[in-house]
Structure formats: structure tokens, C-alpha cells
């Protein structure tokens, strides 16, 4: 609504008033913003071009936005590598499971603390809010995970982060904006709290849950530190981001991809190089989230605003 008003205001002003200074400003503004887009996009397009270029040719350098010798060999190599294939599966699995658990649990708790009549409403809310200010820190957390027996387990990716306070607050704000009559009418029909939540509130919350799902998916997909900390000795539980991190910090940890590269190099023709593998892994690790977020832009812009400005 405000956007429409802003657009009509600007349309009117452009018709009525357009001095030379204003036009110069406009042109400079467009040039600057275009440059900004170039600076943002160039690294990605460059990496993409290198990943699609034949490895033996990339070594010579000079590749910018377009592959010189087009080749799918790098991608074939990366996905034929058992470790990376497995790491991709784990990355997908933790993203799907983690997001589903977080969305459902956050929405459920948010619903309970949005019910004004709930006797434990304040207690539950404050218990969560306090954790925004205080956390045990790295060492105590590590010892807890160890004592719970979660080291070398898939669940260490899911359990510690089920509900984030920020997510809880934005879902609660959203539920509190829903008309009370919708919930009341469900009550009159005899629905209990759980059924009201599942059948009425959850579907109505889908816009804000899309935001939470995106934030959680991005967090899960991009995580590597928990793999490094808890599961680095178990290659079966490694993720794509961690494999990439190992390649980037190849100083003392030899990554699986490079070991494979060293082995494959024994033949006469060089098919892959560390440079190409690095670029290819970077693209594989970055693309899923880059593809998803533009479709959810409308939702997360709203979600950020609800959580950020209005509280």
C-alpha cells in the first residue's frame, strides 16, 4: 500500500518537476547501482565460468564471464567422487529435516504464547527471551554435546537449534495480528487447541512460515562449523560446505577431493585441477539457496520488517 503511494507520488513528481540537477542525479544513480550489481555478481559469474571450463585450459588464466573451452567434466568428476556425493546427500537431509522440525516446533510454541489465557504464557516467553542474552559459549556447549552422546551423530545438526528466539517472535507477532474471531469460531465448533493450531492457525501462518523456512534452510545448508566441531572424524556425516572448507584451507587437512585429484593425476591427461574443483564445489554449495531466495523475497522482506521495526 505504502509502495503504491510512493510509486504514484514519484510518477507525479517526475511529470511535474524535472530540473537538470535532478536528471544528472538520476543518471549517476543508475550508473552507481549498475556498478554495484556488477561488483556483486562478477565473482559468481566468474566462478561459474571457471567451473564450466576445461580444467587444462583454466590453468592458463584469463577467464572472466564466459567459459573458453566449455566442458562438463568438472561437474562429472565432483559428483562421481563418493565423498562429495555423500556430503551432498547429508546437506540435503539436514536442510530438509532441520527446516521441517524448526518450522513446526516454532509455530507450535509461538501459538501457545500467543494465547492470552494461557497460564504459562509469560513463563515460556521469558524462558526463551533470556537465551538471547546468555549463552554458555563454545566449551560448555561442546562438553554438553559430548555428554549427551551426540558426537558422531546426524542429530547434532538438528537438536541444538530447533527453536530460535527470532523465529519465535516473528511468528508470534504474525499470529497476534490474525483476527481473534477466526480462532473463536474454531472454538465454538468444538476444536481443541491442538486442532485449532493444525487446522486454522498453521495454514494462515504460511506467509511468515515461508520466511522462517527460508532462514532455517539457509542456516542448515550453509553450516559447516558444527560438522568441523562434532563430526569431523566421521566422513559419512560430512556436508558439502565442510568439504569445501577443507579444500579452501588445504594447508594441513588434505581433503578427499584433492586426494582423489592426486590419484587421478597419475594418468597422462589432466582432466581436473584444484582450481576447477574449487570453483565447481563453490557453485554446487552456493546454487541451491541462490535459486530459492528470489521466489520468497516478498515473504522475507515482510518477515524482516515485522521482526525488526514493529517488534
Amino acid at each position: 500500500m505504502a509502495n503504491a503511494a510512493g510509486a504514484s507520488r514519484q510518477a507525479r513528481s517526475s511529470r511535474r518537476h524535472s530540473s537538470v540537477g535532478d536528471r544528472v542525479f538520476d543518471i549517476l544513480n543508475y550508473i552507481f547501482l549498475t556498478l554495484l550489481m556488477v561488483v556483486t555478481l562478477y565473482p559468481f559469474l566468474n566462478t561459474l565460468a571457471v567451473s564450466l571450463n576445461a580444467a587444462s585450459d583454466s590453468i592458463k588464466g584469463g577467464i572472466h564471464l564466459w567459459p573458453r573451452q566449455f566442458s562438463g567434466e568438472n561437474y562429472r568428476f565432483v559428483f562421481n567422487e563418493a565423498t562429495i556425493y555423500n556430503a551432498t546427500l547429508i546437506s540435503v537431509l539436514r536442510t530438509v529435516v532441520g527446516t521441517a522440525v524448526t518450522v513446526f516446533a516454532s509455530a507450535m510454541v509461538a501459538y501457545t504464547i500467543s494465547r492470552q489465557e494461557y497460564v504459562l504464557r509469560k513463563f515460556v516467553t521469558i524462558a526463551f527471551i533470556i537465551t538471547m542474552y546468555i549463552n554458555g559459549g563454545l566449551i560448555p556447549n561442546y562438553l554438553l554435546i559430548r555428554d549427551l552422546g551426540l558426537i558422531n551423530s546426524f542429530w547434532v545438526y538438528i537438536l541444538p537449534g530447533i527453536i530460535g528466539v527470532f523465529n519465535l517472535i516473528i511468528i508470534r507477532s504474525f499470529i497476534e495480528q490474525l483476527p481473534e474471531s477466526v480462532i473463536e469460531s474454531a472454538r465454538i465448533d468444538g476444536a481443541g487447541d491442538f486442532r485449532t493450531f493444525i487446522n486454522i492457525v498453521f495454514p494462515l501462518c504460511l506467509p511468515v512460515l515461508a520466511t522462517v523456512a527460508l532462514f532455517t534452510a539457509v542456516y542448515q545448508w550453509n553450516s559447516w562449523f558444527d560438522v568441523f566441531l562434532y563430526n569431523s572424524s566421521n566422513v559419512k556425516l560430512s556436508t558439502l560446505q565442510y568439504e569445501l572448507q577443507k579444500i579452501l584451507q588445504n594447508s594441513n587437512t588434505t581433503s578427499s577431493a584433492e586426494t582423489a585429484f592426486a590419484n587421478s593425476g597419475s594418468g597422462s591427461s589432466v582432466k581436473v585441477s584444484p582450481l576447477s574443483i574449487r570453483a565447481t564445489m563453490t557453485i554446487v554449495a552456493a546454487v541451491p539457496m541462490i535459486v530459492i531466495y528470489p521466489f520468497l523475497q516478498k515473504y522475507f522482506v515482510k518477515g524482516m520488517t515485522v521482526g525488526g521495526v514493529k517488534g
Binding site: 505504502a2 530540473s19 554495484l36 556483486t40 565473482p43 501457545t112 492470552q116 489465557e117 537465551t131 520488517t305
Partner: protein, 324 residues
């Protein structure tokens, strides 16, 4: 709002009155579904978020992993004393403050400027494209970002190529950017801006869209140009949001991040890249000095807590409540 509750409002769960205790349990039983929906997660919260705070006791012990809690030897604040006489910690503290300070100032200036410029774009399609593109780096991991930054800053990377093209350096004089320790803060600041400037505009653009269009029309009648309108209407219009966000961010002064410093850091720039989080990781999990690392982590949390609480208090007094 409370029209359907015949019971007295303000269910003070902390100290119910004698008669109220019975009432409290009666209501608790009648709301058992809500209880079942939330209390398991409070238990989860207790285990994963509150129990680790108990681990702070390690900072006051001569911690031996093999011993039970009651057999540990207590040493008071001696680990904190050695922490503050440890050079590496003081360097880490300096780096933490410097990098979060840079992030704070640079982050604000760039995000507000970009929001102002985006607001002046009249072609809606162009504006949307710029916005979508500017959000992109926010959605990649720091691992990917660090890889890209390393590639761009490498001796044969695009930054050196550009410098050669504009004649700033000759061939053979290429910089090893990440090898220059004193440049690290700048590289960190630029990288953070690249990654998050678009994302940080969201809040300011929302605040700008709430400004009354009549103000702009009135200014236009008075003959104010674009820059004047930006300076005298848009900027003052979002000033409350800027002030509150600034204050809130001061609360995170000791949270300078961990991933960019860890991933871009190396042996050559360690004196400028190592912050408290990396210090904790190194001393705790690589050298197994649990008490010292826990003390460093605890120091960070306690100072952050004080800063955040005061920031919240100031923000509330400025009339913008609930903005954590």
C-alpha cells in the same frame, strides 16, 4: 481481548496467592493441551541453552576432565587473572573491538546510503532487480564467500588485474592482500559490506515507505530538489530507526563474528584476524585449556549481556520498545 475469561486477569505465575495456587493448577489442567504443546520445548531449552551456562563453573576450577564435579579443585578468579595477562587474549580483544567497530560504522553508512539511493529510483523494475541482486551474497555461506574473496584477492585475481589496468601497480608487483596483516581489518570490512549491505537495506526501505508522501509534495512545492528532499525529509524520517538500530548494535560490540575471521585468517595475518571466538577455539579445543577458554567465553557473554541490557533500556526510553 480478555472478554471470555471470567477469572481474574494477570495470572502471575511466579507467586500465586494462597487461594490462587489452586486456581492456577485448575487452569493448568484445563489448558493441558497448550502445556503439552509448549513445555517439552521448555525442557529442550533448559537442556540445550541453560545447562551450558552451568559449564561456566569450569572457569573457576582447575578442571580435570576425568574427575567428578565435586572432586574438582576450585581456584577462584585466577584463570581470569591469567587471561588478562595473556598477550594473545589482549590482541584478540583489540581485534574484536576494532572489527565490530568497523562493521558497525561501515555497515550503517553503506546500508543507509544504498537505501536512500534505491528510494530515488523511479523505474520500479530496475529497483527490484537491484534489490534482488543485492540480497544474493547474504544467502551464500561464509565458506563460499571466503573462497570467492580469496580468488578475487589472489596475486592473479581480478583486483590485482584492475590495479594493473589503471596503472596503480606494475606487472610483478601484485599484492598478496591476505598476507598483509595490517590490511586485514579493511578486507574484513569490505567483505562484510559486500555480503550484507543489500540485506541491511530492508529495514531502512521499510521505514522510508512509511514516510508521509505529503511531506515530499510540500517540499517539491517549495522547490526542493532530489538531494534536498533526501537530506531534509527521507533522512530525518528514518532517523528513529537508525538511532535505535545503532544503539542495539552497540550491544553486540563483542560479537564481531567468527566465520569470516577464521576462514580468511592465516598465519601471516593472525595478529589482526584472531578475535575472541577464535582465541576460545584455539585455546579450548586445540590446546585443551578448557578453563582459560571458558573464562574468555564467559567474559564475552557477561560484557555482551551488560551492553545489550543497557542498549535495550536506552532504546525503550527513546520510545521504541521491543526491538531486541
Amino acid at each position: 481481548m480478555e472478554n471470555n475469561t471470567a477469572l481474574p486477569t494477570s495470572p502471575s505465575t511466579s507467586k500465586p496467592e494462597p487461594g490462587g495456587l489452586k486456581l492456577f493448577f485448575k487452569r493448568l489442567v484445563s489448558q493441558r493441551i497448550l502445556v503439552l504443546m509448549s513445555v517439552p520445548f521448555v525442557i529442550w531449552l533448559f537442556v540445550f541453552k541453560y545447562v551450558p551456562v552451568w559449564g561456566w563453573t569450569i572457569a573457576f576450577q582447575d578442571y580435570q576432565p576425568s574427575l567428578a564435579f565435586k572432586d574438582q579443585q576450585w581456584v577462584g578468579f585466577s584463570h581470569f587473572q591469567s587471561l588478562f595477562s595473556e598477550d594473545r587474549f589482549l590482541i584478540a580483544l583489540r581485534n574484536t573491538l576494532a572489527m565490530s567497530g568497523i562493521n558497525l560504522v561501515l555497515g550503517f553508512v553503506t546500508a543507509v546510503s544504498l537505501a536512500l539511493l534505491l528510494n530515488e529510483v523511479r523505474k520500479v523494475a530496475f529497483k527490484r532487480v537491484v534489490q534482488t541482486v543485492s540480497y544474493l551474497p547474504h544467502f551464500i555461506s561464509w565458506v563460499v564467500a571466503a573462497g570467492i574473496i580469496q580468488t578475487m584477492l589472489a596475486p592473479d585475481g581480478v583486483v590485482n588485474e584492475l590495479l594493473k589496468m589503471f596503472g596503480v601497480i606494475e606487472k610483478g608487483q601484485e599484492y598478496l592482500f591476505l598476507g598483509k596483516a595490517e590490511w586485514f581489518w579493511g578486507i574484513f570490512g569490505a567483505s562484510s559490506v559486500w555480503k550484507d549491505v543489500g540485506w541491511n537495506t530492508i529495514v531502512y526501505l521499510a521505514a522510508i515507505s512509511a514516510i508521509d508522501p505529503a511531506q515530499y509534495e510540500a517540499a517539491e512545492m517549495d522547490g526542493a530538489g532530489r538531494l534536498r528532499r533526501m537530506w531534509y525529509i527521507t533522512l530525518p524520517g528514518i532517523k528513529p530507526v537508525i538511532v535505535v538500530l545503532l544503539i542495539m548494535n552497540i550491544g553486540y560490540l563483542l560479537e564481531s563474528g567468527f566465520e569470516p575471521q577464521y576462514l580468511l585468517g592465516n598465519g601471516m595475518n593472525v595478529d589482526y584476524s584472531e578475535n575472541i571466538d577464535i582465541f576460545v577455539l584455539k585455546y579450548g579445543l586445540q590446546q585443551f585449556n578448557f578453563p582459560l577458554a571458558t573464562a574468555a567465553g564467559m567474559f564475552k557473554t557477561v560484557v555482551s549481556f551488560i551492553l545489550l541490557f543497557s542498549a535495550n533500556h536506552i532504546a525503550k526510553r527513546l520510545g521504541q520498545d521491543r526491538l531486541f
